[in-house]
Structure formats: C-alpha cells, structure tokens
C-alpha cells in the first residue's frame, strides 16, 4: 500500500520536474557584466606567511601603520571604520600616549550640561566615529552613493583582501566597446557591477608621504591600506593562528596516543 502511494507520488514529482527540464528556456540575455568582471588578483601578504599559504604569518606592523596613515589621509574623508576602537591601535605598535593623541583628532557625540547634543574629543575607549550621521546624510553628500564602513570589508567580499587591493589598483580609462558607463561612475572590472561610484582614491604617487622610506607609489598605498583593512576585519588573526598551531599539535599527539591505545585494546580481537 505504502509502496503504491510512494510510486504515485514519486511519478508525480518526477514527471513534473522533468516537464520543467524539457521546457524551452528564454534565451538568457547576454550579460556583459559577467564577461567583463575580473576575479581578484592573487597577491602575497605578510599575514599569509611563507608560501602565502595562510598557515603561518604575522602582520607587518610597519605596513599596518602606513596603511592606517593612508586610511586617515585618503579614505577617512568618506569611509568610517566604526567597529575599530582607538585603543585597538595598540596592536599596531602605538603607545598609549600616541593613541590618546590620535583619538583627540576625532570628535564623538556627547551631551552638554543642558542635555543638548554636542561633541567632545574622542578617547582611547571610543570607536572611530562615523563620517556621516546616517545613510541619508551620506547619500546626500556623495551624489547618491553610500560609502560603506570599511571595518569588515576584507571579510565581506569573496577573497576580500585580494579584492580590496585589486579594486584600488583596478581602475581603467579603457572602457570596452559596447559597455555603457555613465559619466558619474568609473570603470573598474574588479567591482561587481563594473561601474563604481567611488573615484579612484589612490590617484597619484606621492599622495601620501611615508616617513619610513617605503616607496610612495599608489601600488604601495594600495598594499598597505589593504593590509590595514585586513587587520581591522580580523584583529585577532595572529592570535588565532598561534593558538591553532598549539591546538593542532596537541591534538596530533593526543590522537597518536589514542591510536596506540586503540591498537593495544584491539590486539586480541584482531589476532582472534
């Protein structure tokens, strides 16, 4: 009985879905976005360690500090990093006094003695403030575009670290034939919809002056700020990998001991 019912239901679904399978499809309209879109360039990063494998590796603190400088001087005009607290910058090697100075450059919301909204200088305990009060304000100031917060950007995109670097260095003036690019947008094949509202932020060598002698080129800026943003997205990366090494080493030894115990326990049965 059950089998008969099952057969009936089975035939119903099978015929139905195969009917859909043989149904003709409307021809998919050619999507130039897919053809033009490029996957991120594959770069080597200090935090990926030897062989760029991602197993070992630590952040290059000097690079993170340069990246922070690029962020501050170029990106922070439009993009916030609201999930990062000033005190987190200690990870980059800044002292408490330096952090206090950096924080004091920013204003955060406060209430005055009359309860009216005002601002005060940020302290180490505060997060980097938003650039715009809300999305509407951002869009009004940016011609309809909403510059996203960058704290998590390298985790919010597939192959995020390589993506951010590729995007920053991927602008091109050679718009392919047949591709429509509105004047207010820019051509960047690494961006998901190819036309991006952000003008190329790293436009000229020498835009940011590095104090440690690193090359002041747009490529270097892109690498450094990408490394910095990888840190903002995953500040515990180094701790994570160190802990992982220790844990896996422990587990390998434990499993090894367990395996020897297993062999001993089963010796009489396996010999039978």
């Amino acid at each position: 009985m059950i089998r008969l019912g099952a057969l009936a239901v089975g035939l119903l679904f099978v015929v139905n879905v195969l009917w859909g399978a043989i149904a003709p499809r409307e021809a998919a309209s050619p999507d130039m976005t897919k053809e033009l879109h490029k996957h991120p360039k594959h770069m080597e990063w200090a935090h990926n360690g030897p062989g760029n494998l991602g197993v070992f590796g630590t952040f290059d603190r000097a690079q993170l500090q340069r990246g922070f400088q690029v962020y501050k001087e170029v990106c922070s005009a439009c993009h916030s990093i609201n999930r990062v607290a000033f005190r987190d910058l200690a990870d980059l090697g800044y002292t408490e006094a330096q952090i206090k100075t950096i924080a004091a450059e920013y204003e955060v919301a406060a209430i005055d003695a009359n309860g009216e909204p005002t601002t005060r200088k940020a302290t180490g305990a505060d997060k980097f403030p938003l650039v715009y009060a809300n999305e509407a304000a951002a869009r009004a100031a940016q011609n309809g575009a909403n510059p996203p917060d960058l704290s998590l950007m390298t985790k919010a995109r597939p192959d995020g670290t390589n993506y951010v670097y590729s995007l920053l260095t991927g602008y091109s003036d050679d718009v392919p034939k047949g591709w429509t690019k509105p004047d207010s947008l820019y051509y960047n094949p690494y961006f998901h919809s190819i036309n991006i509202a952000m003008p190329p932020p790293l436009a000229a060598d020498g835009q940011v002056t590095y104090s440690d002698g690193s090359p002041a080129t747009t490529d270097q800026y892109a690498k450094d700020v990408t490394a910095f943003l990888t840190w903002t997205a995953e500040p515990k990366l180094e701790n994570r990998k160190e802990t992982g090494m220790a844990v896996i080493l422990f587990l390998i030894i434990m499993t090894g001991l367990g395996y020897l115990s297993y062999r001993k326990v089963w010796a009489d049965v396996k010999k039978a």
Binding site: L7, G10, V17, W19, L152, T243, I248, V265, V269
Partner: protein
C-alpha cells in the same frame, strides 16, 4: 539491550553500592556505554559518526551558551554584539568561530552518519523507529541551524529568513497567515529575531531529548553491523568499553584536528561573505544562498519552474523540498529487501553510490545562482532523487539477486583476519 552474556555492573566501593541502591547512574552508564553493552566486533570507521554527532552537539551547546552571554537579540545591536564578541570578549573570536564552524561540522558528520545507515540498511526492521527518530533529529537540526544563522542579522541572515518564511506563503488559503505568524510581522524584524533566539536556545535541548530516545531505541536491538547479520553469540561482540571507547577516541581526535584546522586557519571558508554586511532590508544580495548543508534541498526547491496540474511552480518547489526529507520516513517500507547491508546487494550498492553522487551534485547546484546549466541539472537530479527512493529502490529491493550472507559476524571477521584454512563464505568489505 539484554544480550545474555552482557557483563553486569558490580559496584566496587561502599559509596558505589550506596548510590546503586538509590540512583543507579553508574549501572546505567555501564550498561549503555560501558563494559555492559555488547557491540558487534566488526564495526568500521563509519560507525564512529553517531558519537561524533553527539560530540558536535555538545560543542554547539557549550559554545552557544557562552555566546548567549554576550549576544544581544535586537535588530539594532545584534550584528554589533557579534562583532563585540569577535573583538572584545576574551577568546570570543574562538568561541564564535567554533560555533559557526561547529554547525557545518555537525551537519557533515550527520550526513555521513545517515549515509552509513542507508548503506548498511540500519533503517530496516527492527530499527524503523530508531531511523525515524534520527530523521526527527535531522529536522530539528535544520530548524536550529536556520534560526541560528538569522541571529547574526547580516545580509544573508535577513534575506535567508525572508526567503524561507516566504516559502510558507506558497500554501493556498493559509499560506500568508502562516508566514505572518512565523515572522510576527510582514517581514523579518525584531519580533522574528527575538523568537528565533528563544527557539534557537530551546531546540538543541529538545534535540538532546530526542537523541536520548534515539540511543535508547538503538540499545533495544543493539547496533547493526557491516554484514547486516544479527548478533548470534558472544563471539560476535565485544564490550563497548574499552573497545569502542578506544576506537571512538581516535575518531574524535581526527575529528577535532579537522575541526581545529577550519576554526583556526579557514574559519570563514564555509560561510558567505555577505553575512559580514549588516542586514539591509532595502538591498538584496546578488545571490541569496543558505549555508552549504542546505544546498541539496535548496536545489530541489528551485528545480520546479513550471506550473503543473494547476498548482503553481512555487508551491511544487516547497512541497518537493519537504517531501524530499519526509519520504525518508517511509524508507523501511520502500526498501523491502530481507538483506540489510549493501555489501551483499550489488545492484543496490551501485544505486547507492549513484545516489551519493546525485546528492553531492545537487548540493553543488544549490550553491549556484539559479541559471543554466544549473537549473536543468537540478531538475534532472531532483527527478532521480525522487525516483531513487519512490520508484527504483522499491522495485530493486524486491527483485535483485543478493550475495550469500556469512553465517555470523564472527564468521565474517574470521574470514577477514582468520587463521587460514576456514574458507570464507563472503568477504565483507570494510
């Protein structure tokens, strides 16, 4: 299970005797997991996965309870609270990654456990209720995982909730009402988030209760084994402790090494980057996909693209998706072969592996955008999925020629490890 040769618990200390007369916990454990539970001696590595599933659940519960100390279930702060855990809570990043990766591993382990049951006929009499309890656990896991993913309140959380609750609106007459009831509104919002948090905390404990029933149902007949032949004498079994505690410990070690490799070195590889973007009801992600363990069912859902017999395609998709799991409850009555293990059923064995490939490729389809060639592929594979259980298996199980079974488990074990001389009846494939 009372195999007559099962060792009986003997309390060794005065305290032990005293407790045994009042609350015989030690006796219970002894008989359920200890030296007092005879287990077939030929269980292979695939029989590890039930215990691993239990361990995975415990890891989820422990990490989950800890996360719940820091998580805030309000749409305005939920995402921020998760980032607070990642950045500021001591070791929070580790606990969060363990919980997220742990969910994937839980499903991975359970899928292998289910496929083991399919291959060795562990759903056959007298283990039908055991099988169905397992399916109930699977359904509870899916509900729990779905709700847990929504809690993060990222883009995928929100839009995944939107899609899945939207499915219910496919049902005629009551559909929209059910959808609104589930959401507590017209779209996923605070009401949805809060109730999902409450239920996500509750369901694992319900699951735990069903697991107790599941293990109890197992212990009545005892474990199946790769030959599918029942236990006949003491020579067929070994006490669970220390034999399978030792073996499961090795399996646990391997599981934890793999788990640690993902948690500490590739924690986001099984997830979707879009969920690191806070939920935005006004902006739909380019490709809405659930977590990988839902992909086969998502493929089945999207495979129904044409209205049929007056029923809209969307409703067919929903019905098929539910049916694809519910039909498994009938498996003991669809597969009527008297031979349990596919080791002795050559045709079923081939069909089993075809089914495994179909299930995996369906999974791949589910993770792709709903475009060609994935849609057509999903449709053909979905047809096979239903045909496999509802048409092919009932027929094959009745008509196939099976290989002769070994006389007993110990006979099969001797044939494998044996002291030469005894001509093996059949080589049980480990």
């Amino acid at each position: 299970m009372s195999f007559p040769w099962a060792k009986h618990y003997q309390p060794t200390s005065e305290v032990g005797k005293w407790m045994d007369e009042r609350l015989p916990l030690a006796r219970f454990v002894h008989g359920a997991l200890g030296p007092g539970y005879p287990t077939p001696k030929n269980l292979n590595a695939f029989y590890n996965f039930g215990v691993l599933a239990g361990v995975a659940l415990v890891i989820q519960i422990i990490t989950g309870v800890v996360l719940a100390m820091h998580f805030a279930a309000d749409t305005r702060v939920a995402f921020d609270s998760v980032e607070h855990i990642m950045r500021d809570v001591n070791g929070g990043w580790m606990i969060r990654y363990m919980h997220a990766v742990g969910a994937s591993f839980f499903f991975g382990v359970v899928y292998i456990h289910i496929f083991r049951g399919l291959y060795y006929g562990s759903y056959k009499p007298p283990r039908e209720v055991l099988w169905m309890l397992g399916l109930v656990i699977f359904l509870l896991m899916m509900a729990t995982a779905f709700m847990g993913y929504v809690l993060v309140w990222g883009q995928m959380s929100f839009w995944g909730a939107q899609v899945i609750t939207g499915l219910f609106s496919a049902f005629p007459v009551v559909g929209t009402y059910i959808q609104t009831l589930l959401l507590g509104g017209f779209s996923p919002d605070n009401a949805t988030l809060n109730r999902f948090f409450s239920l996500h905390y509750l369901l694992p404990f319900v699951t735990f209760g069903v697991i107790i029933l599941h293990v109890w149902a197992l212990h009545i007949p005892g474990s199946n084994n790769p030959t599918g032949v029942d236990v006949k004498s003491e020579a067929d079994t070994v006490p669970f402790h220390p034999y399978y505690t030792a073996k499961d410990f090795v399996g646990l070690g391997i599981y934890l090494i793999l788990f640690a490799a993902f948690v500490f070195f590739m924690p986001n590889s099984l997830g979707e980057p879009d969920n690191y973007i806070p939920a935005n009801p006004l902006s739909t992600p380019a490709h809405i996909v659930p977590e990988w363990y839902f992909w086969p069912f998502y493929a089945i859902l999207r495979a129904f693209t044409t209205d049929f017999l007056g029923v809209p395609a969307k409703l067919w998709g929903v019905l098929a998706m539910f049916a694809s799991i519910l039909l498994l409850f009938l498996l003991p009555w669809l597969d009527t072969s008297p031979v349990r293990s596919n080791n002795y059923r050559p045709l079923s064995r081939l069909l089993f592996w075809v089914f495994v490939v179909v299930a995996v490729v369906l999974g791949v389809c589910g993770g792709k955008p709903a475009e060609e060639p994935w849609v057509r592929l999903s449709q053909v594979l979905t047809a096979y999925y239903f045909a496999h259980f509802l048409i092919i298996l009932p027929i094959v199980s009745k008509l196939e020629k099976t290989k002769p079974l070994p006389g007993s488990i110990s006979e099969a074990v001797l044939a494998k490890y044996g002291k030469g001389g005894a001509a093996p009846l059949a080589q049980p494939a480990e």
